[in-house]
């Protein structure tokens, strides 16, 4: 993306006012509401996860206060679920932190995708955007940036994001509390198959990735390795399997690309080629 503005001169609201791209208070509020409204579909999707997280917390060995603190300070759904799984298997905090790191590495992709669109903002805003950069808020923001012009990006982006973030954040915390309450009211909920909810959720999240052969190889390696390493101490199997699978998938991907550069690839699906081109 070309940088049409000088980040040094457009960062403060006063200067923006002079250039005519500033927002009055009602307009800012309008953007905050627009951001929240655009996030409603994602919120509906997040409600069951938040509730299930809260419900599973206590029986996994996380205190109610710990569960709320996790939703407030970590605010990363899938790694929170994984932490519960590891906790119930008796895993220590350092392994859980290391696993969280691996699981959330994907958020680097999100920040890489939006950094050019937010680098004009002051440090406070960039920190806030980073804190709230969940899969959902990223999807909403990236979509809105694609559909908007330079003026919106410079004057309104942060207010729109604020609305989206606050809606996701408050909903996540609220659902966690509801889940904890439900878990305490109905301790037998465990036997309703809620523990399978996490597996079903992850299956639904993995399937859309399976469009290329390197991705398929990655998933097969991850599955086989995780079964083979299940007896490793401290639940290290998860990290060993994930890192091996990423290495295999990436090597396969790079090999395909090299082959494609030298010759017209044979037997490669159109998705393979499309993905390779996107990654160039």
């Amino acid at each position: 993306m070309t940088n049409l503005h000088d980040p040094g001169t457009c960062s403060s609201p006063e200067i923006l006012a002079n250039t005519g791209t500033s927002q009055s208070c009602p307009n800012r509020l309008k953007e905050v509401f627009a951001g929240s409204r655009a996030t409603i579909p994602m919120i509906v999707g997040a409600i069951p996860f938040g509730i299930i997280f809260g419900t599973l917390a206590e029986q996994s060995g996380l205190s109610p206060l710990g569960a709320i603190a996790m939703s407030v300070f970590v605010f990363a759904g899938s790694s929170q679920f994984i932490a519960l799984g590891l906790l119930s298997a008796g895993t220590g905090p350092l392994i859980i932190i290391a696993t969280t790191f691996i699981v959330n590495l994907r958020h680097l992709l999100y920040s890489a995708a939006i950094v050019d669109d937010v680098k004009h903002l002051p440090g406070f805003w960039r920190a806030l955007i980073a804190f709230g950069l969940t899969d959902e808020s990223f999807a909403i923001l990236a979509d809105k940036i694609r559909k908007s012009d330079e003026n919106w990006r410079l004057g309104s982006l942060q207010w729109f994001y604020l609305g989206s973030f606050l809606a996701m954040y408050c909903n996540w915390i609220l659902c966690t509390v509801i889940g904890i309450t439900l878990g305490e009211l109905f301790p037998q909920m465990n036997s309703w198959g809620l523990d399978f909810a996490m597996s079903a959720t992850f299956i639904g999240m993995v399937l859309p990735y399976l469009t290329t052969r390197p991705m398929l190889a990655c998933v097969l390696v991850a599955g086989a390795m995780s079964l083979g390493t299940a007896d490793l101490p401290h639940q290290l199997g998860l990290m060993v399997s994930a890192i091996s699978a990423i290495a295999v998938g990436l090597s396969f991907h790079l090999a395909c690309r090299r082959k494609e550069k030298t010759a017209v690839p044979e037997g490669m699906s159109t998705e393979d080629i499309k993905t390779n081109e996107e990654n160039k």
């Binding site: 999707g45 969280t100 920040s111 990423i246």
Partner: protein, 105 residues
């Protein structure tokens, strides 16, 4: 105490990952191969969690048979996901199938 350590650590690494590029404001970017590698992170991690959860449900060896309700429900969830391509439908149908198989078996 362990809980405080765990949550603080999780919060710190999660924020660091989300913030590091935004903090550098575009002065630092990844080489192409690293970006391509990041694409493989979510499916690799999620799969490494799903397989043992479904196939080693009782921490007592692999249970690859039709008496394992989680395995049957997982197959239903995969088929649902491939047909409907909708996350919420996959979850609801998968959970319903798990409850049904658990009750039947």
């Amino acid at each position: 105490m362990t809980e405080i350590l765990m949550i603080t650590g999780m919060a710190a690494v999660t924020f660091a990952i989300r913030y590091i590029l935004l903090a550098s404001a575009g002065h630092f970017s990844f080489p192409g191969w690293a970006k391509a590698g990041l694409n493989f992170v979510p499916p690799a991690v999620l799969t490494a969690i799903i397989f043992p959860a479904i196939l080693i449900p009782n921490n007592n060896g692999i249970e690859f048979n039709i008496e394992n309700p989680a395995l049957l429900a997982a197959i239903v969830a995969v088929i649902t996901g491939l047909v409907r391509k909708d996350l919420l439908t996959t979850i609801i149908v998968g959970m319903f199938a798990f409850g049904l198989f658990k009750w039947l078996l």
